[in-house]
């Protein structure tokens, strides 16, 4: 029994990916420029992890609005509050995140002030009818700076280790292509968070690291095939080998991306408010990672002039 899906994914596809490389690279360049522009101009909406401060998660069963909560939080006179609605699987109820900025004060004094502010916020929220306090978070100034530092170090370290790994497994021409593709993915994700103003927190960093791993995974599969085909078809022009290899692995690429996306969409829709940002970043990352393996990582090999085994000197 053959199902329709199989026929949608021909085993011998001949899509001319490489022919559109200039268009694809141009598009990527545009996306990256736009991402950097948005990042510089609008910036990222950092979550409580990186911003520091006080946050309370509340659930209401009546028509309490963002405005009501903002008025309440403003009346505490503890800095400019933010109130954000979040998804709730129960349509009768609403979830809100109410946050206050880091409280002024040097060192431990500021940390104490944060706790006092948290208590004040907690008490004020408790007075609202039909409101249930579901959790509080306080991140001190020093800790939030540490988290930013470790978060970005983690991304840097992961990229570096990927570079080392790919360098061991393939020749340098491949590593350049792979790393450019990864940086492409990271910048495009940061750009996406600038455009949508989704909250960027520790979970987003986790998502970016996973995207890096996933995109690398995709790239490696294509590269593996390129290397194999270069050995197999010694006379075929490089562009044709690249195109053939992408097509060879195309149905695998599509299927894996599809199953991963399906799982992530389930997470996005059902997994609850706390995981939505993570799922969103991952969905975008899988799309961009798949795109970059085909349209960035592979065509770049044409520019780095990848060597065929037997013809290269040394190594």
């Amino acid at each position: 029994m053959k199902l329709a899906l199989i026929n949608l994914l021909p085993t011998t596809a001949k899509v001319p990916f490489i022919r559109v490389r200039f268009m694809a690279l141009g598009l990527s360049a545009l996306v990256l420029l736009f991402s950097l522009f948005e990042f510089a101009n609008v910036g990222i909406n950092f979550g409580i992890d990186f911003r520091g401060g006080i946050q309370a998660e509340v659930e209401t069963s009546n028509n309490t609005t963002t405005e009501d909560l903002r008025t309440l939080a403003t009346s505490l006179d503890l800095g400019d509050p933010r109130v954000q609605g979040a998804g709730n699987s129960d349509p009768e109820r609403q979830t809100f995140l109410v946050s206050l900025p880091l409280q002024p004060g040097e060192g431990m004094e500021g940390e104490q002030a944060n706790q006092t502010a948290r208590q004040a916020l907690q008490e004020a929220l408790a007075s609202v009818e039909g409101l249930e306090l579901r959790g509080t978070t306080v991140i001190g100034g020093a800790v939030s700076r540490e988290l930013i530092f470790t978060g970005f170090t983690a991304i840097g370290v992961a990229l570096f280790l990927m570079l080392i790994y790919i360098w061991f497994r393939f020749e340098w021409q491949y590593s350049v292509g792979a790393i450019v593709a990864l940086i492409h993915d990271v910048i495009a994700t940061v750009g996406m968070f600038s455009v949508t103003q989704m909250t960027f927190d520790l979970a987003t960093v986790a998502a970016i690291l996973t995207i890096v791993g996933y995109s690398m995974n995709d790239t490696v599969v294509v590269y593996d095939r390129i290397r194999e085909n270069l050995r197999k078809y010694k006379k075929m022009p490089l562009a044709d080998v690249l195109n053939l290899s992408i097509n060879d692995t195309l149905s695998r690429t599509i299927l894996t991306s599809a199953t991963t996306l399906v799982a992530l969409i389930s997470l996005y829709l059902i997994g609850g408010a706390s995981l939505q940002g993570f799922a969103f970043a991952m969905i975008w990352g899988v799309l961009i990672g798949t795109y970059s393996s085909i349209f960035v990582a592979a065509p770049l090999l044409l520019f780095t002039n990848v060597q065929r085994e037997g013809t290269q000197s040394g190594a």
Partner: protein, 550 residues
Amino acid sequence: MLYFGRWKLLSIILVVLLGILYTVPNMVPEEERYTISDIDGSREARGIWRWLPSRTINLGLDLQGGSHIVFEVDMDEVRTAQLEGLAADSRQTLRNEQLLPRSVSVIGDEVVVLMIRPEQRDQALEQLQTLNGPVTTEFGGPSLAQMYRMAADPNDPGAIRITVTDEQFAAIKNRTLSQAITVIRRRIDGLGTTDPTIARSGEDRVLVQVPGAEDPQEIIDLVGTQAALSFHMVDSTIDPGPNGQARTPPGRTIYPVANTQPVQYLAVETRQLLTGENLTNSNVTTHPSYSGPVVGFRFDTQGALVFGDVTANNRGRQFAIVLDGEIISAPRINEPILGGSGVIGGGYTYETASQLVILLNAGALPATLTPVVQYTVTPSLGHDQIESGKLAIIIGFALVIVFMLAAYGVFGAFSVAALLVNVVLILGGLSGLGMTLTLPGIAGIILTIGMAVDANVLIFERIREESLNGRTPANAIQAGYERALAAILDANVTTFIAAAVLYLLGAGPVRGFAVTLGIGIITSVFTAFVFSRLLAVLWLRGFKPKQLPI
């Protein structure tokens, strides 16, 4: 690739069985698995669970509710206290040798000793070196444990500068943190909550996790209080002034009196007669002189002697009990108290008295602790999060199954079986290794389900290709597994690197994501490459197909 020896087969079955054995306890209610003691809540495995793994997955605080608080020890305060102690010791040492300093003061990170007569400086320096303990070994080499570095100031003929060495300060920090953890543990244990975690976090922080705690303030009050207790004689000849701002002669200190409106002040002798260290046991009790509950305490032998002497010699005077810079009690001595016990009373409720008892019994913290991170989730939110996580896993899994069956038919079924075993191994692994499952951890499981089929897809695509190239089914399967291996390993190593970096550098719940992702990668390589291959081989033997349905 197609041949499985007996031992190989057995070990595959064993791994899968172990996975199942470790997963099953998670589906059986706790009462079925354990006899829970009514007296102390301790658990003992019962029935067949005595012979089987009975442990379940630890749920993170975000899934069971509770408070996660990181306290920072004020190391500046510790350093200052250290330097002040050093200054006092230096003064004493010099006095003992009749070498009179003009001043001994703490300036920044140093103790500066100024001699009245500069020509005494070398002699003073020599005497001060004794504070370092034996500075030279028998052979004249430097001692290993230099506590202080001291030197004559080249620009000031009468000055000596002393600093605490970095090694010594590191040792002090270390000791302070260990002491703090011990005291915190005793205090939290006094609360009687189940399974609290108290652990060191970095150089100067302590992590406290209390499952089930809904209000972090309770824990902050309990842990953030230093509880330094001391006993002093009151000096009623000094008027503390309306705001306690009066100038005091040396050796006298003014403290506010707790629970007074407007705040009253008393001047006391700075010298501590006794401290909290001298207490052996405290409890909540009643006393005829007070209406509410009081805190009863008992001194150790030495404390009882001192207290007996003091009370015998100071009849009619007042003494003060000072807790963290506040006078909590200032009774008048009516008669000598020789039994070594007493009460602190006045204005306590049962709760506040119990809290003080916990603090006194646990002892004082060596320094001030301030919360720098606080994360609290109510049990109801935790419950909702785990339920929605479960649902997301089930639905994600179901959709992936549909996809794989649609794309690969029979082989799709192998990969679904492999995926099922994969999830079982992840859950079993988490239970068996005693790992903690957090909300991001659930995300890691869902992601693994989505990505784990990748290895299967790589293999099946290869098999399909080889089959189209005209190979026999057995040959095609053989070649498919063989050729896909390199790509599978490469691909998984990269994701594993990402998970490892996240685990090593990540903080808090995000680490849980790295754990499930990491375990998931290992199990998915096993299930795709070993388990699904076994299924394919068994199928090949059983059905002997002429053509691959792929």
